[in-house]
């Protein structure tokens, strides 16, 4: 995924100021910065919840799911079409479907479900059932992949916060997301689970070859899984580099004096 000179203003406030970023596949890219740096605005623009004033967000052939091998501009598309293009977002507050089971949560994430059309359910039950079997099978595999196979039938509400995050990630995998945008994946999660989550994030990039973007406050997390780091402040990209370099940077030291 490639982001080119994005600009976004809210009234007089510049939230994104000529932001250019690159998120290659197979790499964990971290975006850090203090509150108000424009991280969340960037998240919302990529996911399609906000329209930027100018600039482009494009999927490159390696991350585009339609296999046409062309650049595909996703700016201006509604969020659901962006998701269908293979961009998956993990919200900071998860937004789990709390009255569905973990397995159902993951199954909802699957694409191309003929059974989502009421007429198909009534008149083409065989076709619906055939695809549904695949969807459930896949959903089980993804739950297993994130280590929650034994919790498949619990209500999502009954899972711990960290487990809900894992379900939400499995839900994105079921939809074949090639670009994963994770907003503070470790916030509010107990230390035990943080290790699990970070291992999973690493695996998503290294083994699966997905483009993983994490938006983080926690510098330790960035140190552990970030391959590349962008430091944002005041809507601009201030520093870009390997985690070690960025963490040594004086701008960052000013922002996080306790480091």
């Amino acid at each position: 995924m490639e982001i080119d000179s994005l600009n976004k203003r809210f009234g007089g406030v510049v939230a994104l100021d000529d932001v250019t970023l690159d998120f290659p596949a197979g790499v964990v890219t971290a975006i850090i910065g203090p509150n108000g740096a424009g991280k969340t605005t960037l998240f919302n623009v990529i996911a399609g919840f906000l329209k930027p004033d100018s600039g482009s967000v494009a999927l490159l052939p390696d991350s585009d799911t339609d296999g046409s091998g062309r650049r595909f501009d996703i700016i201006g598309l509604p969020p659901n079409l962006i998701a269908l293009r293979g961009v998956g977002v993990l919200f900071q507050d998860i937004r789990i479907f709390k009255r569905l089971s973990g397995l159902e949560n993951v199954a909802v994430g699957a694409k191309n479900q003929p059974g989502e059309k009421p007429l198909n359910c009534l008149f083409q039950p065989a076709r619906v059932m055939a695809r549904e079997k695949e969807v459930i099978e896949k959903a089980r595999q993804y739950l297993d992949y994130v280590g929650l196979a034994d919790k498949a039938h619990l209500w999502a509400e009954q899972l711990s916060y960290g487990q809900q995050k894992l379900v939400a990630i499995a839900r994105l995998l079921a939809g074949d997301a090639k670009v994963l945008l994770l907003d503070e994946p470790t916030s509010g999660v107990d230390p035990d689970m943080v290790g699990k989550l970070l291992a999973l994030i690493q695996r998503l990039a290294d083994t699966d070859g997905r483009a993983v973007i994490i938006i983080e406050h926690n510098l330790n997390v960035v140190k552990r899984v970030g391959d590349w780091v962008y430091l944002m402040a005041g809507g601009c990209i201030e520093v870009f580099g390997k985690p070690e370099e960025v963490l040594r940077d004086s701008t960052l030291r000013e922002m996080f004096p306790t480091l």
Partner: protein, 289 residues
Amino acid sequence: MNYVFHIFTIISLYVILGLSLNLTVGYGGMLSLCHAAFYGMGAYASALLMVNAGWPFLPSFAIAVIVVGMLAYLISIPSVRFHGDFFVLATLGFQIIIFSILYNWVTVTKGPYGIADIPRPRLWGLSIASTPAFFVLSLVVTLGVWGLTRRLVKSPYGRTLEAVRDDELAALALGKDVIHFKRSAFCIAGSLAAAAGVLFASYARSIDPTSFTLDESVFILCVVIIGGAGNMKGPIIGAVILVSLPELLRLVPMPDAVAANMRQGIYGLLLVLLMRFRPQGIAGKYASD
């Protein structure tokens, strides 16, 4: 004996109304207050076809269900864009509009006088005139509606509809066309309510707008919520309780002068107690919010 079949028939009508509204309220998370409007439109559409055009029962039934489904679709276009309280108000608005059309479009609906002399159905040469026979017909339709809604809510469609109810934004971010799910649920619910309306019209044999007021919409909502929203058993239990409870209260001896008022009072009190101790409804897994 006819009295018992009469109560059973009324229960089966409310089971249809409850099951259909449950699609919108329980599975779709949209608290609709215009269900009686669809019920009424179904009743009027079939009554007009049978009385004015002399159509037989089955074609009238089919056309009423289809036409009301289409109207429900039109109403859903502006409505489902609203959320929460605003959706409730929008459906309240449509309930009032449709009621006043039924009440005031005198040349077609005969206004407050309503439509009389609606024939009982004749199916394949068989007259369904007696109360027990009508109950059988009504039961068959109820089973059909039950089967259809069950098929829908147990399908991927129902699952995604519930996902949209739980978190619309998250469903959108998973690539779901949220509006499509809400709109279709609303539309299907409307056309199924029309089926109950058709049955009601040919059962009561005369209809007028007062059967399809806001009160009626609220009553159907009570059927769903007291039985348990988002659950296939809920509306059935709700319909049985809400229809039979006032009848059972007749058996409680009370001084004649205050009997009617006291029954109303006890009925209300029981509803409040139910919600206090079973907020998720009798069969429900969770409280509707």
